[in-house]
C-alpha cells in the first residue's frame, strides 16, 4: 500500500514536458543569437521525447522508445547541418545575430 502512495502520476510528466516545451518556445522568441535558438529547438525536441518515453513506459509498449531513438537520429543530423549553415553564414556576414539576417523578412 505504501508503494502505491508513492507513485508518480502520468499528469506530472505531461505538465513537466509542457513547461519545458514552453521554455523552448520562449527562448526561440526571446534570444537573438542563432546558436541559442538552435539550442532552444533541441530543448523542445527533448520535451517531446520525454513525453513519448513516459507514455510508452506507462502503457507498457516499447514502440515509443523506438520513435525516440529515430527522433535522436534526426536531431543529430539536423544539428550537424544547422551548425554548418551557421558557420558559413558567420563567414559571409561576420555575425550570427538573426536581426542582421533580415533580407528575407516580409
Amino acid at each position: 500500500m505504501e508503494q502505491t502512495a508513492q507513485m508518480v502520476p502520468l499528469n506530472w510528466y505531461l505538465f513537466l514536458s509542457t513547461f519545458l516545451f514552453c521554455i523552448g518556445i520562449m527562448g526561440v522568441l526571446f534570444r537573438r543569437n542563432a546558436i541559442i535558438i538552435l539550442m532552444c529547438i533541441e530543448l523542445m525536441l527533448n520535451s517531446v521525447n520525454l513525453l513519448l518515453v513516459a507514455f510508452s513506459s506507462y502503457s507498457g509498449n516499447s514502440d515509443g522508445q523506438v520513435f525516440v531513438f529515430f527522433i535522436m537520429v534526426v536531431a543529430a543530423a539536423e544539428v550537424a547541418v544547422g551548425l554548418a549553415l551557421l558557420i558559413s553564414i558567420f563567414r559571409n556576414i561576420g555575425s550570427t545575430d538573426i536581426d542582421v539576417l533580415n533580407k528575407l523578412k516580409w
Partner: protein, 165 residues
C-alpha cells in the same frame, strides 16, 4: 522515493532550462543545456528506459553538445556579444509563451488519457528488447536513417567548406 526523485530531477531540469534561455553568455547556455540533458536521462531511468538513457547521454551530451561547444568557441562568441532584444519584444515573447502554456494545460486538463498505472520494473527498456523491435519491425526506417546520416554528413562538409575565390 519515486516522487522525491521526480521532484528533484524536475526542479533541476526546469532550472537549467531557464538558465539556457536567460543567461547572457552562450558558453553558460551550452553548459546548462548539458546539465538539462543529464537530468532528462535521469527521468528516462526513472521510467525504466535504461538503454534510451545511455543513448541519450552518448548522443546528446557526448556528440551534439560537443558540436555546439566547438562552434561557440570557433566563432568566439563568449564575449558578451549577444545583446538582448528590446523590452517590448521580450515582454511579447513572455506573454506568447505563457499563453501557449495556459492553452496547452487547459486542453490537457480537458482530455482524459484513460487509466495508466505507474510502470512496474520491466525489461522493456533494456537493449535486448529495444534492439529486437528495432531490427525486426523497424528495420526499414533504421536503414533509411543511415542514408539520412550520410546525406547530413556530406551536407555539413559541403556547407562549411571554404569557398574558392
Amino acid at each position: 522515493m519515486n516522487q522525491l526523485l521526480f521532484f528533484s530531477l524536475s526542479a533541476l531540469t526546469i532550472i537549467s532550462a531557464l538558465i539556457v534561455v536567460f543567461t547572457r553568455k552562450p558558453m553558460y547556455s551550452v553548459l546548462s543545456l548539458i546539465a538539462c540533458f543529464f537530468t532528462i536521462a535521469g527521468h528516462y531511468i526513472l521510467l525504466h528506459a535504461q538503454f534510451l538513457a545511455i543513448t541519450h547521454i552518448i548522443v546528446y551530451a557526448g556528440a551534439i553538445m560537443v558540436l555546439f561547444l566547438f562552434v561557440v568557441m570557433l566563432l568566439n562568441l563568449n564575449t558578451d556579444s549577444d545583446q538582448p532584444k528590446s523590452g517590448k519584444l521580450r515582454i511579447a515573447a513572455m506573454i506568447a509563451a505563457g499563453m501557449l502554456f495556459v492553452t496547452l494545460l487547459a486542453s490537457l486538463k480537458a482530455t482524459s488519457f484513460g487509466e495508466f498505472a505507474f510502470p512496474a520494473p520491466s525489461d522493456k527498456g533494456l537493449v535486448q528488447h529495444v534492439g529486437q523491435r528495432l531490427f525486426t519491425d523497424y528495420l526499414l526506417p533504421f536503414e533509411i536513417s543511415s542514408i539520412l546520416f550520410l546525406s547530413a554528413m556530406i551536407g555539413a562538409v559541403a556547407l562549411s567548406k571554404k569557398e574558392k575565390h
